[in-house]
């Protein structure tokens, strides 16, 4: 039986992706930041500053552990060693949430360090569900699965992404992490309607929302090709899509992701404040 009541659930407020250079600033004054997200793989060393900082942060903030390397969408079985490292981290840290991606990254050649896409078929659905069952069993907790940013399509896909994710949530009982920037990026790249994607999404299953920046490029035919870079501020159309989402879901834990060209803390806090402003009126009205 899965325990879906985390010891400290993520608050339905704004959080930021933690970067080591912001440790002192966050401990002094986190401003609107109510929780932090870390990338699990950065805290799998034996000791030193990373773990010491994480222990100190965990005393002060609810922590979300976000895995970027489990390869849940991989054709091969899950890496048992990596899964036990995740379990070790979750056991001592007791995070408020654990999330991973609908993607693959590991193959027999090694770890490719990108969130690679998979076709949406009955076979891949069954495999992803098996992997999620295994993760939830080993970690002893409900996980959240994040929708990806994608750049291409598969000839063999049989269903749309929202149907695929909805069915995963239904079969495994996992929650979903709705990355609104990823929705915007994929919708642009794939020719979908971003708002229709959100409207069709199983919003009851959403335990967390991500917001981030992306880069703009074009494909071979000059059509827009957006790249999920996490290297700049959230753009206005993504804020609009986020406000639309929150109007439907009510307040949900919302993360600002900024992983490349990381700005000084005040700039991140300003982004978090913008998310908080969208979250708060909803809370007041409910």
């Amino acid at each position: 039986m899965l325990d879906s009541s985390a010891p400290r659930a993520l608050p339905a407020a704004a959080g930021i992706g933690y970067k080591a250079q912001h440790f002192t600033g966050l401990m002094a004054d986190p401003g609107p930041v109510a929780w932090l997200e870390i990338h699990a793989e950065n805290y799998m060393g034996a000791g030193g500053r990373p773990l010491a900082q994480l222990r100190a942060l965990a005393e002060r903030f609810p922590i979300s552990v976000h895995g970027v390397g489990l390869s849940i969408g991989g054709e091969a079985p899950l890496d048992a060693d990596h899964l036990s490292r995740l379990r070790h981290l979750c056991d001592w840290l007791e995070p408020a949430s654990f999330s991973e991606h609908l993607a693959w990254s590991t193959h027999e050649t090694g770890f490719l360090n990108d969130l690679l896409p998979l076709p949406y078929t009955d076979a891949t659905l069954a495999r992803v569900c098996d992997h999620i069952d295994r993760v939830q069993e080993v970690l002893g907790r409900r996980m959240l699965l994040e929708n990806p940013s994608t750049y291409l399509a598969f000839a063999e896909s049989e269903m749309d992404e929202v149907s695929f994710l909805s069915e995963i949530a239904r079969r495994t009982g996992c929650g979903l992490l709705l990355d609104v920037n990823n929705v915007f990026v994929s919708a642009t790249n794939q020719g979908w309607d971003a708002r229709a994607y959100v409207d069709a999404f199983p919003l009851d299953a959403v335990g967390e929302i991500h917001l981030g920046g992306h880069d703009e490029d074009t494909d071979d035919h000059g059509r827009p090709l957006l790249i999920d870079s996490h290297g700049r501020a959230v753009i206005d159309p993504v804020w609009t899509l986020y406000a639309h989402t929150i109007a439907r879901t009510g307040p949900r834990p919302t993360l600002i992701e900024w992983d490349n060209d990381v700005p000084p803390l005040p700039e991140l806090l300003a982004e978090a404040a913008r998310a908080a402003a969208i979250l708060t009126p909803v809370e007041a009205a409910r």
Partner: protein
Amino acid sequence: MTGQTGFATALLDPARPTPEGLMNPFGGPAGKRFDVYRNNVTVSLTEALETGFPTVRKLVGDAFFKAMAGVYLRANPPADPRLALYGTSFPGFLARFGPVAHLAYLPDVARLDLGLRQSYHAADAAPFDTGGMDPAEVLAQRPRLAPATLVLSSRHPVHGIWRFNTDPDAPRPPAGQQDVLIARRQFDPVPHLLPPGGITLARALKGRLTLAEAMTRTLAVHPSADIAALVTLMFTSGALTPGA
């Protein structure tokens, strides 16, 4: 070839065509869209190597390092998702990589960069504290090297090369060989020049000898070793932790 084998193989080999079955959403070939993934893999792993081997990068220059990292990462992608461990085979790769054959010291510089990173992530350990002990008692202790302590023996002036490329006020590296002790007092590993006999002393302490026995062994192998300076360096650098 399964779908992901074909995908992964083409990701790491830019000469290969885009795998079959990948399209743009309008029914045409994926083209540049597949290259986004190729680029993500190459750029992110190159950045991991740039972060992990800053002194090597400084020595060969940014553009050359990027090109060399591309050759390495295509043949040696990370074994698992812990990028902090990525590049353990990079020093050996440099020793065999023709275009840097004239930089004979480069593999050892890479070992130093790697050692600093390994020390940074190593387990914490209580410092070896001799407070309150009399000298005889100190000499009877069996301190061990802390998990964050590493020694590196080089035929090149690797400490001087590291310093010259890290500290703008450092002198030019001297000629000759140098050994290095990497140790962490709290969180920040420091590479110390390890005087003659230091490697022997470190090995003796790893072998669980008492401090007196380790000093005796060091002097037997290196009669001219400045044993007081070596022991002081071991104590002050944070290299030691109490033995069981």
